[in-house]
Subunit: 252 residues, 2 copies
């Protein structure tokens, strides 16, 4: 048996997210089928975490095992040869037998891209969220800061989230503004289902002056999902990078 | 009667180019239909030049006339409301009655985008040409330089080109390299059918060392289309900007 670790990039637009679902096209399914087609082995591919329908990945990490060892460069090339162009294997390498893409992930970075101008470029359609009402970036920045540190993020978790312990550490939560473009970046040791999109939905309402900046703190303390804003659209969200523990292994 | 001038951006992927064609979806048709739908007037829209199937535009300029004058901001907004998201009106303004988007164009800039690395990002699929063999940018730069100035570009025109005078002036012809990315930029007072793509097809062969740098000069002098390289793929090509004569009117 040989374990492999892959760095993936995908445009989420056409897919029902990462995880295999009946009658719906998912990235996990595509990759599992590509591996089967190339190696004639049936595999199960485990990612650092699921991404929802429409969400993109610049640096998703996943692992899988093969009965027969194979040269990684040729295997990566063969996989890209059968995968559609909106899903790419950027890197493939041998992993230690105990490596687990989900359980060993120590830190993840997400970016939520917002365009706050009048006309969205055709080149960014489906790749950025178009916020039509004027946003106050400073208010959003203030509210975003509050999330840094270790907190119970239950107020931002999907109501379907069944994880018992909703405490997570956020290392970074900031907003970059360049003209009409706003990038919200968040880094943490783990994220609950819909957590980033629920945070962004709340930030957008704060940015539009529909709620006070202090709401962020309030939601965090109350832990009540009903207090937070709506789940922001998936197409603005990117899984940027996943970090693992280990000597050099900061990146897949 | 009121004349309008519009600045357009479009992703060419889904379209059979600018010009109306029977049974094929074109940008001209879409825009004409959008104007009709919004104004209830039948119009003919004239662009600075046709773009081929699959070619993109960052700044195409076009004009049209309406019987009834309309406020430009509302009209632009209404057009974007009915156009698909891969075609956008970036700006719309009143033009002098004699303005002609094609005949008055004084200068155009095209950019041809090339990726010369192993794995193309899903986010750039259909938006850049993936050259898999290693390119020598310096050779391409040398060859590209030769085109500057006034020349007969017959050797780079489509064999279907029926223009009598094939002399054009190229103001700029250079190659920008950033890592695996190469951008070939060309500016001129006019371009023959397929001229940029035939130039790029030749540059790519020179970059791959399949022909000498001197071939550019040879093709220019011989004026024989059969000497030049193949027409490069449309999806790498962008019409970037069109300039017009006039006091301030450098841009639409």
């Amino acid at each position: 048996m040989q374990k492999y670790r892959m760095l993936l990039q995908y445009l989420g637009t056409r897919y029902a997210g990462w995880q295999v679902q009946k009658n719906r096209l998912t990235i996990q399914q595509l990759i599992q089928e590509a591996i089967s087609q190339v190696t004639r082995e049936t595999v199960s591919v485990v990612a650092s975490g699921r991404t929802d329908a429409g969400v993109h990945a610049l640096g998703q990490v996943a692992h899988f095992r093969l009965q027969d060892a194979r040269p990684v460069e040729r295997l990566a090339k063969a996989l890209n040869g059968v995968l559609p162009p909106d899903v790419r294997v950027l890197r493939l390498r041998i992993a230690p037998p105990q490596f687990h893409a989900q359980k060993d992930a120590r830190r993840k970075r997400y970016c939520y891209r917002i365009y706050n101008g009048p006309v969205l470029s055709p080149f960014l359609h489906g790749r950025i969220f178009h916020a039509r009402l004027l946003l106050d970036a400073e208010r959003m920045r203030q509210a975003g800061k509050v999330l840094r540190g270790r907190h119970d993020f239950g107020g931002f978790a999907s109501s379907r989230s069944r994880v018992a312990d909703k405490r997570r550490t956020v290392f970074r939560s900031d907003l970059l503004q360049r003209g009409h473009y706003l990038d919200y970046r968040i880094e943490g040791d783990g994220f609950l289902h819909h957590m980033v999109r629920n945070i962004v939905g709340t930030l957008l309402e704060i940015g539009r002056d529909r709620r006070p900046v202090q709401d962020m703190q309030r939601i965090l303390e109350a832990g009540d999902r009903r207090l937070a804003g709506p789940t922001a659209a998936p197409w603005g969200l990117y899984l940027v990078r996943v970090w693992y523990a280990g000597r050099k292994g900061r990146r897949a």
